[in-house]
């Protein structure tokens, strides 16, 4: 089944509560997907720094002196914040490529979850409640975010197989459904230069969107192209540096509910996920139409 949630804030006064609201929505969706959970959260983009979120299965060893080692390798200041199995490394934006290549030498086992000015991704196997607790999601601030509770279908229950998937700067995607042509598309994308971390169908969808953006489409156009090229069942919720989008396949089997008020736009696989949002009783609530792209920007 899988459960997906998303929240795009219009009212700045809610930003300190983004993590708390999203975590609550995520935990409510536990019975749609108890295998793993993940959240992507956007915030603090204007500081001239880029964030690299990394994950390690041996965080004590890998993260112990990672900031110092990276600083020495690139010769620029590096800040690091460790949260359980994840660490967010902040560094000057022009040092991202240098840091990526240094990371692959310094800590070959560490995986990059996301790169971006605003984006951080946290995901792990286990119940959403435990994942939310582990990363202290309820304390996180931000402008918008998306989350996922996974019932694994197309690939193994692993941290890397959890959603959200990020395959481009500040881009991420969560998916409820399954794609039937992901192997063919994966081969095509590999031919075009994409590297894949998993056998997961959703990673292919994320990489497909990144590829279309690379070819010059905007996100709306990329999602429109996806309606022609991605075969299977899907409800996607996507995030960008300042945007939030939703699209369902033309058959639209997978459930989706949206709500909008002056303060926010929210998405849930079920209405239950939205019931604690402020003003939900008077919000405009609707079911997104099949094969229709919905998008909001700050």
């Amino acid at each position: 089944m899988c459960g997906i949630v998303g929240l795009f804030l219009k009212d700045k006064s809610l930003e300190p509560k983004l993590g708390e609201m999203l975590a609550d929505m995520l935990v409510t969706m536990t019975d749609r997907g108890p295998d793993s959970a993940g959240i992507a959260i956007y915030g603090g983009a204007d500081d001239g720094l880029t964030k690299i979120t990394v994950q390690s299965s041996n965080p004590k060893k890998d993260f112990a002196t990672l900031d110092e080692d990276l600083k020495e390798a690139i010769g620029k200041p590096v800040a690091m914040m460790v949260k359980s199995t994840h660490a967010v490394i902040e560094l000057p934006t022009d040092q991202v490529d240098a840091a990526r290549s240094a990371l692959s030498h310094l800590r070959p086992d560490v995986k990059i979850m996301s790169v971006g000015d605003a984006l951080e991704i946290y995901k792990e196997v286990g119940l959403p409640k435990d994942v939310a607790h582990r990363f202290d999601l309820s304390k996180m601030k931000g402008t918008h975010g998306i989350g996922h509770t996974r019932m694994a279908t197309e690939s193994a229950v692993t941290t890397l197989g959890a959603h959200p998937f990020s395959t481009g700067p500040d881009q991420c995607l969560v998916h409820n459904g399954s794609l039937s042509n992901h192997n063919g598309l994966r081969r095509e994308l590999i031919r075009l230069g994409t590297t894949f971390e998993t056998q997961n169908d959703t990673e292919v969808a994320a990489a497909y969107v990144s590829q279309k953006l690379k070819e010059g489409q905007n996100l709306g156009e990329a999602l429109e192209s996806g309606l022609d090229d991605l075969d299977g069942f899907y409800t996607f919720v996507v995030g960008t540096k300042d945007g939030f989008g939703v699209v369902r396949d033309p058959i639209a089997c997978k459930p989706a509910v949206m709500a909008e008020t002056d303060q926010y736009v929210a998405f849930g696989s079920e209405y239950r996920a939205l019931v604690n949002l402020p003003g939900i009783e008077t919000a405009r609530v609707w079911e997104p139409e099949p094969a229709t792209v919905y998008f909001w920007n700050h």
Partner: protein
């Protein structure tokens, strides 16, 4: 009026309580509060009672209903009134996917819009939707009536059997073997009754509707029709 607080007493107790109500009860009016999008509210009721659900519901509200009149003062999630046998279900807001699916009898009224697959495989239920319905509605519908005051989405009545579909607005496309049919006096009479019982007679007149039904070409397999399946 019996008030049942779902948040305090839980779904299992709600449905067990309603299943315990029989035809001789004096407790004929029930109100359910704190629904918060919960699943399976008032499923399998079999008594001539009135149930008011105050709030929005999740999956399968009022499924398999017999005899009861259930009114949802909010919107309904997927599968509302699925497989209803008799009685009536009124949804004041919108309904999600496959409202009234496989229903064998009774009346389902949706005051807002219904999304995709409304009345899929309906087998005798009457459905009145005041707004629009989504794609693949009345797919393989076998009998009963679907009345839509607004528009219908793609592939209306795909692989339809004997159900009658009445649409006032536009139909985006008709599914395989579904065709427009003439509106005869008996259909106007039927519609008038359905609009009245569906609390829609103030909004629409029978003459404003068009009727759709089965061309009956796909009833029995015929190799000449293979392309249409």
């Amino acid at each position: 009026m019996q008030t049942f607080d779902l948040a305090a007493r839980g779904l299992r107790e709600l449905n067990q309580t309603l299943h315990g109500v029989n035809g001789n009860t004096n407790q004929t009016a029930w109100e359910i509060i704190n629904t918060r999008g919960s699943h399976a509210i008032a499923v399998g009721v079999d008594a001539p009672i009135d149930i008011t659900v105050n709030g929005t519901t999740g999956y399968y509200c009022a499924g398999m209903n017999k005899q009861a009149t259930i009114r949802v003062n909010g919107s309904a999630g997927p599968g509302v009134a699925e497989n209803m046998m008799s009685g009536a279900v009124f949804v004041e807001g919108d309904a999600s996917q496959y409202a009234g699916a496989t229903g064998r009898g009774g009346l389902l009224v949706i005051k807002g819009n219904a999304s995709s697959r409304c009345g899929i495989s309906m087998k005798g239920i009457d459905i009145v939707v005041h707004g629009n319905i989504g794609h693949m509605s009345a797919f393989m519908a076998q009998s009963g009536n679907l009345v839509v005051l607004g528009d219908a989405g793609d592939a209306l009545g795909d692989s339809l059997y004997e159900a009658r579909l009445f649409v006032r607005g536009n139909v985006k496309s008709l599914g395989a073997d579904c065709i427009e049919k003439e509106m005869r006096p008996e259909h106007l009479e039927l519609l008038e009754d359905l609009l009245r019982r569906g609390e829609a007679d103030a909004k629409a007149k029978p003459e404003e509707f068009r009727r759709y039904g089965s061309a009956r070409k796909l009833y029995n397999f015929n190799i000449d029709n293979a392309d249409a399946y």
